[in-house]
Symmetry: C2
Subunit: 374 residues, 2 copies
């Protein structure tokens, strides 16, 4: 097992990761607190996909006391989105609905620019617009959500970025982000901006993300109080597996085994049938006799994590697959159908979305464009 | 001799420095080209105070071809100005008058902020305002001069800063600026912003500065063309000596032996009489007999560099001092009178100056606030 912000390799032992990363498990007490606030617990929580946290209890305390909190997530506009990118966004949307809180979405055009010397702003802006449409299509509250591109908002937060930056040494970013002496000074500086959305309000910030991203926010927790803000809270998910197997994490660099939001019906069908790692047996006869193994079966895992919210239906699929009553091809067909419905609906919403509301004209956006942080 | 951007120590051998720094001497040919453009050569040039350059010939070529060029200077708002700070500004003013070119003055509030963890924006802004008034009082053309604070202008140049930053490694800034692993990431990033004013026009930029500041612009010359701009030209001065001796360079850290623009008549008199290193003899009798040495006499050097523009008068002072006809006290009195007149006049101009013209409402300022660099 190897888990860093840049790579996830091997069979992941999540309990071990919690110990290594020094985070807390989301225990029954926390789950029951969130259940009290929500009509129905999100499947990500019911099924343990979001499983770890830092200071989530303090966020809930603040909520119960009426202080509230706010959410932060982000996106580097480096290409199209796949369903792995959408996972934390979907959970963030649920949290915003349940807690009725502000959400800040940082589009890190500057990050893309300094990490890729061959790109230009035109290319980055095109991806930014496409990514923002995908994100906004998830239905965030347009009056409580502010989506901004780093280079457009920089005047408002530059003094704050510098107040973070002057408290973070090269040694620190070298250790946490893996920089070397040959890293460029834009890359070295960038983590300061990445921490800023956690300081856009004096309330506590909650960041939903996969556990491998946690190190980025440890530095924030080291400096936030000195700058006059709260240590950020984080709620961590497990990794959405790529089609080729339940080990690792879906990545944009594995073009064929990620599921892109633009994949059409035929592509989805072809990809699942061709690449999805199966827990089934080699022949139908053997499968009927021995049954399949849903724990290592990617189609089943995707249904469990993302595409089958109905617990009873999922249980039946699992039981039938394990017994051999459900064949691999049938299981894949269920997934293909679910994915296609999801993507079709998503693309319809994307066409209708008005990103200006989130970036300029919504209540929160308007307020943010009038605010200067020093 | 030790000359780095942070310290100037010992007796400076300027010819040796030119070799070490790899710059060019301002030779007679260049001098005569500038003489053709100006009614009267500035004393800084006549007397060899500005003595070294990079690509000054290309700047003059561009001027002769009608392409023109522009000027850049800057100030870190970290305290009051002394006359050493004013020296490059005075030369810049002369160049703007002669060549009728645009001038950009960068006020590096961000630099001060990241290099001093104990300061805040209120303190920095107060010094910035005071420094800008002192600078503007020198009489720059308000329609051809743009003075800006880094954090206020950042939105307009951030994409360009990043394009520089992504081409400069930590290794490079470590070598050139003396950073270490314990330097903060704000400090490490800052040099990218410092290079930006050289890229505010597609024309060639000329920077007047003391030779010790040259390394800052070597990095610019390494990356400028890749970003789509010209390598900057630089014209270098020798160092204005502090009162205590002709070695070294006037520094804000030596409070008593710098001459502050706020020093009143009594203070000037007291400082010169008490601290100014003299090339005179121990007693009046000895002085009358052996004469003084103007080459190591700070009052004479200050007259030569800054305060006595009349060559004939200066020559007479030098001859009289060398012969013993002029006593140390008399020489000091000449300087005291000159300095006080200069400072009095400067403070009158400072009171009347309208810095808004340079920062917001002048022709160049207006244009700059409408311009976004990508």
């Amino acid at each position: 097992m190897k888990v860093t912000p840049w790579e996830v390799e091997g069979s992941v032992d999540y309990d071990k990761l919690i110990k290594e990363f020094g985070t807390q498990k989301i225990d029954d007490r926390l789950i029951s607190r969130i259940r009290k606030h929500s009509k129905e617990l999100h499947m990500f929580l019911r099924r343990g996909f979001y499983f770890s946290h830092r200071d989530l209890n303090l966020v809930l305390d603040d909520y119960d006391k009426g202080k509230g909190f706010f959410l932060y997530t982000g996106r580097k506009p480096s290409g199209p989105l796949h369903i792995g990118h959408l996972t934390p966004m979907l959970f963030t949307k649920w949290l915003q609905d349940v807690y009725d809180v502000n959400l800040y979405i940082e589009i890190t055009d500057d990050e893309k620019f300094v990490f890729d010397r061959n790109t230009d702003w035109k290319q980055i802006d095109a991806w930014a617009e496409d990514n923002i449409k995908d994100i906004a299509a998830l239905g965030f509250d347009p009056d409580r959500t502010f989506i901004f591109k780093d280079r457009e908002y920089v005047r408002h937060v530059y003094p704050l970025i510098l107040d973070v930056a002057r408290r973070v040494t090269f040694s620190t970013v070298k250790a946490v982000f893996g920089f070397t002496s040959e890293s460029n000074i834009g890359q070295i500086f960038y983590p300061a901006y990445q921490m800023i959305p956690t300081m856009l309000e004096k309330k506590r910030c909650l960041i939903p993300c996969a556990l491998d991203q946690d190190p980025y926010f440890r530095v924030q927790r080291d400096v936030a109080e000195a700058v006059g803000y709260n240590k950020t809270s984080v709620i961590h998910s497990k990794f959405l597996p790529p089609l080729q197997g339940v080990q690792g994490k879906m990545s944009a660099s594995m073009v064929d085994t990620a599921m892109w939001l633009t994949d059409d019906e035929k592509t989805v069908k072809k990809k699942v049938n061709k690449y999805a790692f199966s827990g089934g047996q080699a022949t139908v006869e053997e499968h009927r006799k021995k049954g399949g193994n849903p724990d290592i079966d990617v189609p089943f895992q995707w249904l469990k994590i993302l595409f089958e919210p109905d617990d009873k239906k999922l249980k039946k699929i699992e039981d039938d697959y394990r017994s051999g009553a459900l064949l691999t091809g049938e299981l894949k067909a269920i997934l293909i159908d679910k994915v296609n419905k999801f993507l079709e609906e998503h693309r319809k919403k994307k066409e209708k979305v008005d990103i200006e509301k989130f970036m300029k004209t919504g209540k929160l956006a308007q307020k943010m464009w009038e605010t200067y942080y020093e």
